[in-house]
Structure formats: structure tokens, C-alpha cells
């Protein structure tokens, strides 16, 4: 037999296809962070005084905090004074900032290229999109259609202006600005994001989504998403993200808050595909995100599904506070790391109400010299009679230089609770590949089949089109990693 090249050489690395940059005129504020910058952001957005005050309170609190470094990876401290906190595409003179009706052609083209057409003629059917470009929401589709059934779906900027009562009630109610370093930072400087309110008894006729695009260099993206599902309502929400390829790291620090009232359900799905840096670990997004949902009402349900394939650093723990009796929290995750990516991700399930249930399915795939950790907390409070949790954390290693870790924490303060934890570590091995190849499948198809199988429980939770996209992304990322 010929001297086989390693399987690695068979496969050519496809480029990160979202790595392009859109050259447009930008409205940028000075570098650095202080009270006047915070006020300036608020002013840019025509915000009412109460919002500015909240930002300033957050900023003052953030100043007292230290950047956390307990995650299972190292990164150099970020110079927060060297970042730009607000960059927006420049509007034509006759349009005030924040007016999202007329999106510039270049931005439309950018989203077209990303597969997210925004024009009324070509917009995606069945999915309403809020498109966020750097620091601002540039367009929200299907708003009228949703308004007919009473659903509010708009940018956070619009929500602050048009629905202050809801924002005052819910913003920061799940993730207070005092929660952690990045949540405090976000609360001070968040520039936009999506707001969504589903009224009582309404099942959203469309999937709602936000697409986050970082374009400008040296700008951090700090957005907030808030979804409130009133009694007996249902919404499925999707989130996607990409950024240009750059040698410098960029910061993304988002906050997502979800609230479900009695018997309401929110299904939140993410495909995170931020630029992850090159194979030497140069560049890429630092992704520090706080996502938390509260099942406030009885019998309500929050389900997080995430496919994390991007970012140089991922620090993210979508969590559920199961306050209402009989409420359910779910977390389904696939995290893939390659090159020198570092991921520390997982979830927290806090059982407060009686008969609350939670389910955690985490699949980590690590290749090259990457590091991939699952970190999870299941906490059962004394009030949570008969709480139940099931956790399964599986890791797959591809190659010998990567690492996978599992840090499951279980704290039970109620003897009627049951928690189960299972964990496995496996490898894509040469024998599996040989077996599949000896049935006529080429290496790419064989790897795709193995990975798809490994992640199946999670992919099954994704909306169809997202699942297809997720499988394709994993295949692309893995192509040159199996040796």
C-alpha cells in the first residue's frame, strides 16, 4: 500500500466564509470608557433619563469589579480603555439615528451575503429577523404581521422609547447589573439588541430571530436581548452571529434575559459562529456572555439549545431559574473547538419551585490544540420538593493535542430531589473511520456521520434549517482536524 498521507492532508481547510468586511462610513465615538462615554451612548440613542441613570449606576458598579479569570483557560487582561464602545453605520442626513426604516444598500447587501435577506421582497418566510450591525439594530422584519397578534418584536432602542413600562419592569430583572463583571459592563454600554413580548395565550406564528454582525474593527459589541412570554404563550427564538476575520481580538459581551409566566414556553436556539482566530490562535472574538432565563410561572418552560463553533474564547452559561412549581429547564449544547480556541461553557439549573425538572445534554468536540470545558451547576434549594435533574456530558476528542474537561457541580438542599449525572469521553478513532470507509463512504462523509451521530440529541432540538446549518458548520470546521 502506498505510504498514506495522514488523513489531515486529504482535507483542505475551507475558509471562514463570513470573514469579509463591509466598507461603509461609520459613526464612531472616541476610544475608551468613562461616565461621559456612557452618557454619550445613551444620548446617541435618544434615551430617557431613567435609562441613562441605570447605565451610570451599572458603570460605577463595574468600576469596582475585577475581570474574572476562573475559567479553564488563560487570556491576557483586556484593555477596556483601548476599545470603542459604539460604532454605527452613518445615516443619510435626513434620517435621525436609530430610525430603522431605510437601511443602506451596503448593509442590505452584507446581510444578503450572510444569507439573511432583509428586504420586504426577499425576506425569509416564517422567520422574523432583527438585524444588528455593530452597535445598532438596522432592521426588524415582519413587525406588522406580528403586531396583528399582539407580539412586540423590535430593537432594544425602540423598546426603551416605545415600551418603557415593560423595559423598566423586566430589564435587569433576571440578570441584574450586579450579577458579574461582564453583565455590569454590558448594562453600562449596551448599544442595542432585541426585545420581544408575547402576550397571554399567543403562540408566535413565526420564529423570531436576531442576527448579530460585528463589522467595525476595534469595536466591542454589547447587546441585550429580552424576551418576555406571558401566560400560556409560546415562542421559538433563534440567534446567529458572525464577524470579519481580523488579527486583533474583539470583545463581545452580551446579556440575554428570558422570562416565562404561567405555562409559557420559550425555546431559544443559538448558532454561534463568530470568527475564531487563525490556526495559530491569532485574532478572533472574545465571547463573554450572560444568558439566563427565569421560569417565573408555574408549569412554564425554558429550553436553551446552542451550537458553539466560533470565538477565540467562549465563556457562556445559559441558565434557568426554575421558580414556578412544575417548571422545566433544558440545556442542549454542542461546542466545537479547533485550532487554539478555548471554550468554557455549560449551564446552571437553579431549582426553586416544587416538582421542577431540568435536563442537561452537553456535547463537546475538541480538535487541534483547543481546550473545551463543560462547567455546570445543578442547585436544588430547600423549597424545591421532588426536583429532578438529569445531566449528560459527553466529550469527543479528535487528535492528541486537545483537551476536554467536565466540571459538574451539584448542590442539593432538599432530600426529596433526585439528580443524575453521566459523562463520557470518546475519540473519533481510525477504526471507526476505516469501518465506514470500507463501506464506500469517503473520509468527509464518514466524519460527518460520526459527528452527526454524536450530536444527534442536540441537533434534534434545533429548528430544521438551523440543524442543517449546524451540521454543515461542524463538517467545515472538522475537515482538516481529523488525523
Amino acid at each position: 500500500m502506498k505510504n498514506h498521507p495522514s488523513q489531515k492532508d486529504h482535507l483542505t481547510n475551507r475558509e471562514y466564509k463570513y470573514g469579509f468586511y463591509t466598507d461603509i462610513e461609520m459613526d464612531t465615538i472616541p476610544r475608551g470608557l468613562n461616565e461621559s462615554i456612557v452618557s454619550l451612548i445613551s444620548e446617541k440613542k435618544n434615551e430617557p433619563g431613567w435609562m441613562t441613570d441605570w447605565r451610570l449606576k451599572s458603570f460605577r458598579y463595574w468600576q469596582k469589579l475585577k475581570e474574572p479569570h476562573w475559567a479553564n483557560f488563560h487570556y491576557d487582561p483586556i484593555d477596556y480603555q483601548n476599545l470603542i464602545y459604539y460604532t454605527a453605520p452613518k445615516r443619510k442626513k435626513d434620517q435621525p439615528m436609530g430610525c430603522a426604516d431605510q437601511v443602506d444598500l451596503e448593509i442590505m447587501e452584507t446581510f444578503d451575503k450572510l444569507g439573511i435577506p432583509l428586504s420586504d421582497q426577499s425576506r425569509l418566510s416564517g422567520i422574523a429577523v432583527d438585524a444588528v450591525f455593530d452597535s445598532v439594530s438596522v432592521k426588524t422584519t415582519h413587525q406588522e404581521e406580528l403586531a396583528r397578534v399582539g407580539i412586540i418584536f423590535c430593537s432594544m432602542s425602540e423598546a426603551v422609547r416605545n415600551h418603557p413600562e415593560l423595559i423598566k419592569k423586566y430589564l435587569g430583572s433576571i440578570v441584574p447589573y450586579r450579577d458579574n463583571f461582564y453583565a455590569a459592563l454590558n448594562s453600562a454600554v449596551f448599544s442595542d439588541g432585541s426585545f420581544c413580548y408575547i402576550p397571554k395565550g399567543v403562540k408566535s406564528p413565526l420564529e423570531l430571530s436576531t442576527y448579530f454582525r460585528i463589522n467595525a474593527a476595534e469595536t466591542g459589541q454589547f447587546e441585550r436581548t429580552l424576551i418576555v412570554a406571558d401566560d400560556d404563550s409560546y415562542v421559538s427564538y433563534l440567534e446567529g452571529c458572525t464577524a470579519p476575520m481580523r488579527d486583533e481580538n474583539q470583545l463581545h459581551a452580551a446579556v440575554v434575559e428570558l422570562v416565562t409566566h404561567d405555562r409559557a414556553q420559550i425555546k431559544y436556539s443559538t448558532v454561534q459562529n463568530w470568527y475564531a482566530g487563525d490556526q495559530d490562535g491569532k485574532g478572533g472574538i472574545y465571547n463573554f456572555v450572560t444568558k439566563r432565563g427565569k421560569c417565573l410561572g408555574q408549569g412554564s418552560k425554558i429550553s436553551w439549545t446552542q451550537v458553539e463553533v466560533g470565538s477565540a474564547i467562549t465563556w457562556k452559561y445559559p441558565s434557568c431559574i426554575l421558580q414556578g412549581d412544575n417548571s422545566i429547564g433544558e440545556f442542549y449544547s454542542v461546542a466545537l473547538t479547533n485550532h487554539k480556541m478555548k471554550a468554557d461553557t455549560g449551564t446552571k439549573m437553579i431549582h426553586v419551585g416544587k416538582n421542577t425538572r431540568s435536563r442537561i445534554i452537553s456535547k463537546g468536540i475538541s480538535t487541534d490544540q483547543s481546550s473545551n470545558s463543560y462547567r455546570g451547576l445543578v442547585k436544588v434549594l430547600p423549597s424545591a420538593d421532588n426536583a429532578r435533574n438529569f445531566s449528560q456530558c459527553d466529550s469527543m476528542l479528535v487528535g492528541n493535542e486537545c483537551s476536554a474537561n467536565t466540571f459538574p457541580y451539584i448542590e442539593t438542599e432538599n432530600t426529596t430531589a433526585t439528580t443524575e449525572h453521566e459523562a463520557t469521553t470518546s475519540r473519533i478513532n481510525a477504526e471507526q473511520l476505516f469501518y465506514l470507509r470500507s463501506r464506500g463512504l469517503d473520509i468527509e462523509a464518514a466524519i460527518a456521520l460520526i459527528i452527526d451521530g454524536f450530536c444527534k440529541e442536540v441537533f434534534n432540538e434545533l429548528p430544521m434549517e438551523f440543524a442543517v446549518e449546524a451540521v454543515r458548520l461542524l463538517e467545515t470546521r472538522l475537515e482538516n482536524s481529523v488525523g
Partner: protein, 250 residues
Amino acid sequence: MIEIKDLHAEVNGNQILRGLNLTIGAGEVHAIMGPNGSGKSTLTKIIGGHPDYHVTRGEILYDINLKKRNIIDMDPEERAREGIFIAFQYPVEIPGVNASEFLRASFNEICHHQGAEEMDPLDFDDFLREKMKVLEMDDKYIHRSLNVDFSGGEKKRNEVLQMIILNPRFSVLDETDSGLDVDSMRVVANGVNRLRSKHNAMLVITHYQRLLNYIVPDFVHILEGGRIIKSGEKDLALAVEDKGYDWLKK
């Protein structure tokens, strides 16, 4: 059909095959027996094209489109698409990969290569169920993950099912009898025998002649020290069962 000439092969620097010669014609069934470490499994891996096993000398000529072609440089998937099939001794488990979906992907890949029409999921399902009946397999098989939590016997049955579905021209059955009880062996052998025709050939590798009562070979070869030291007919297998291998070694 296949002609193995002066085959030398190594794995991890250990020379295992040392000048193996074997010619198998269309319509023939050959059996290879031999003690542990004689090179039986290495021969299987070499025929399948396992990347860790290397031919250091010799060739394997296989009929492709009426021409003899040395296949030692072909990838495993190319060999499979040209009708070579290995029924593995230790089929690997692949969690989450549905056994029937995998088999359909494999079937269509081979059809595609050979210019035959691919089968849609519904037709394939009928086709699969019909073949499963031959092997007396449980309907639940269709929904299971490939080889995961299969008993030893189920794994072997699954290998033979794949063989029947893919209808190869040349098959290697590597210790297909190990892990099978007598009833299962009869069922599996029946499945294999239905595939025998003047157009295809088989190489049955086994420790025990028991299997050869069910899959009756035309020729029996004894492998020892990486080469064939004795060839004969069915009665050679019986002699080995009776007397062991030592009397054959010089």
C-alpha cells in the same frame, strides 16, 4: 477474480505477511485457517485497505472492468465501491449513527459509483426488511445505533446483512463464526450461501472448521508465519480440527 502475489505486509514495523500467494476465481469460496498470530487478520486489513497496514512487497490484482488492477494503492472506499466487502471480526460501535440510514448511505454510494440508480428511503426500507427476514433479525434493528449495544451475535448478523444488501463481488468474512451459537451460525451461513453465485467469490477466515460445515468451501488453505503452507479441499479443515497445526509445520 483476485490474485494475491508474493504479498509482504507490516503493521507498526512488524512484518506479518511474508510472501503470501492466493488466487481466487469467480464462483469460488476459499477458506483460510491458521493459528493465532499467523496473519489472518492482517490479510483482512490489507485487502480492505486499512491505512495502518502497509504492503512492503507483492501485489493484489483484482478484476475491475475486465482488467486486472493492482489495488494496493486504492483507498478503502474505492475498493468498497468496486465490490470488495469485509465482514469484520470486531465491528466498531458508532453511537448516534442509525444502522439503517448508514447502510442506505453506503448502498447509494456504491450504486452511484457503479452507475446504478440510487434508492429512495421508502424503497430501501422495503428492501432492507426483506433481507432482514432472511437473517431472522428483529425489526427494532432499523432504529438502533450502528453496532451500539449489539450482542456479539447481532454484530455478526449485521455484518452479513450489510454484505447481502451491498451484494459485493468479493467478500472476506473474518471470523464471522466467533460469537455465534449454532442456531445463529446456521441462519448467518444460510444468508451467506444465498449470495454465492458464479459471479462472485468469497474468502472465509476462521479458527474452526465448524463454520465450514455450513459454508462449504471449494478450497482450504493453512496460513502460518505469514504465508500459506498447505492448500487442499474441505477434508484439510477436518484434519486440522483433528490434529491441530503442528503436523503441518516443517
